[in-house]
């Protein structure tokens, strides 16, 4: 059993011991289950108090009185300011004045915030969807062009979707749909991991009539909006190679 000063134990729980005493206490605790039990009890009590003890926030009446202090400090001669308890009417009048002053001060900001909210809403309604899709389409095309310019068309070269799919799954953390023959006369060349719209996606490479095509696929578990944009994006490059 321990002869530890309880004050030290409490200071330990509060994280208020200096490093040396802290280490000594940890050492004692390691070899003393009864002491550990006491520390745990202090922790629980502390938590209980912090969660349940009432915190008394300043009531409105006090705020009104504080506002009255201002007029006392500003209008009255300094000697009259201390210890003067304002009459209720004076206090509430001062409170009203302050409240109006506050409102007038904040009103431009409130109007500004309102306008900003309207603009943001308008942008939300009008702006992002097409521009976002366009951006993704452009990204897909750029990625496809890059892959055809260089040597790096695929990470895994196989016409067998049973080979391509597990490879991509292991790299991506989700399982992309890999169709063996998405279009008549097409052949799977392989797949690679690409980066699109801020996250890794699967890029599948097919050859059809001597052109390659790169549909990309995002995680199927992604939110609908993302999935649909990924699907829309995936159709974009198919037209690209045919033009070329």
């Amino acid at each position: 059993m321990s002869t530890v000063d309880p004050a030290l134990l409490h200071a330990f729980v509060d994280g208020e011991l200096d490093l040396k005493s802290q280490l000594e206490m940890e050492q004692r605790l390691a070899g003393d289950p009864a002491l550990r039990q006491r520390v745990e009890e202090i922790r629980l009590l502390r938590q209980e108090i912090r969660e349940h003890a009432g915190y008394h926030a300043a009531p409105e009446t006090l705020r009104t009185r504080v506002a009255a202090l201002r007029s006392a400090a500003g209008d009255a001669p300094p000697s009259a300011a201390p210890s003067g308890v304002p009459t209720p009417t004076a206090a509430s009048k001062a409170g009203r004045t302050i409240a109006w002053g506050r409102w007038l001060q904040w009103r431009p900001l409130a109007v500004g915030l309102g306008a900003a909210a309207v603009v943001a809403l308008a942008l939300q309604l009008a702006g992002p969807p097409p521009s976002r899709d366009e951006a993704i389409a452009a990204e897909v095309v750029a990625s496809h062009v890059r892959s055809t310019l260089g040597e790096h068309l695929v990470d895994v070269a196989s016409s067998d979707h049973h080979t391509v799919k597990p490879f991509l799954s292991s790299k991506l953390g989700f399982s992309p749909p890999v169709a063996a023959l998405p279009l008549e006369g097409s052949a799977l060349l392989g797949g690679r991991v690409d980066y699109l719209d801020g996250r890794p996606v699967a890029a599948l490479v097919y050859r059809r009539d001597n052109t390659s095509s790169t549909p990309s696929s995002g995680p199927t578990a992604a939110p609908t909006a993302r999935r649909s944009s990924a699907r829309r994006a995936a159709t974009a490059p198919r037209t690209g190679p045919r033009r070329g």
Binding site: D14, I49, A53, A57, A58, V66, A73
Partner: protein, 192 residues
């Protein structure tokens, strides 16, 4: 400094901590009305001392003024109270049984809250202030030492004793006899 300027400084330094000031005063006076009076008086003093405020630790600075104002007020208005530091037995915990239509968890919460508040209120003021500054204001031992004008070692021992008293006051709560009507029902033999 003009009145307007000094008010602005006061507003920026002291008023953000009005809740903390009231909370401490409320716990020390244990009364809404007295707490308001004490805080108002403290703010008047704070305005006067504002020139001496060095610009850091506004909350401890204000709380120190509130604490001193509280003690002056307690000595003047409640001289009989809290003379010794060992008279912290506290009142009996007559917590009302939960109302029938109240969900048990809400009732338990209310009972916890009432029990803990009563137990803290029953602490001697010297212990109570240290506990409130630590648990409700989350101040460090050093800050508490400064506010209460006592050595850090005294902060430590008072906090330990305050918690020990709370623990024994709350010990019946651990068993929660009021909140477990189950055995009674079983005795009556009635189905739940």
């Amino acid at each position: 400094m003009s009145d307007e300027e000094s008010w602005r400084r006061f507003e920026a330094v002291a008023l953000p901590h009005l809740d903390a000031a009231y909370n401490l005063a409320r716990w020390l006076t244990r009364n809404d009305h007295d707490a308001e009076d004490v805080v108002q008086e403290s703010l008047v003093r704070a305005m006067r001392y504002l020139g001496g405020f060095r610009g850091e630790g506004a909350r401890p600075w204000l709380l120190q003024i509130v604490r001193n104002t509280c003690w002056t007020w307690l000595k003047a208005n409640r001289p009989a109270e809290n003379v010794g530091l060992d008279d912290g037995d506290g009142p009996a915990h007559d917590i009302a049984a939960p109302a029938a239509d109240e969900p048990p968890q809400v009732a338990m919460r209310r009972a916890d809250r009432a029990l803990i508040d009563q137990a803290i209120a029953a602490l001697p003021a010297a212990f109570r202030e240290v506990l409130v500054l630590r648990e409700l204001e989350d101040l460090s031992y050093a800050e508490i030492a400064r506010i209460a004008e006592i050595p850090i070692g005294t902060v430590m021992s008072r906090l330990a004793r305050a918690r020990a008293q709370l623990r024994s006051a709350l010990a019946p709560a651990a068993a929660r006899p009021v909140l477990r009507p189950v055995p009674k029902v079983a005795q009556n033999g009635g189905p739940p």
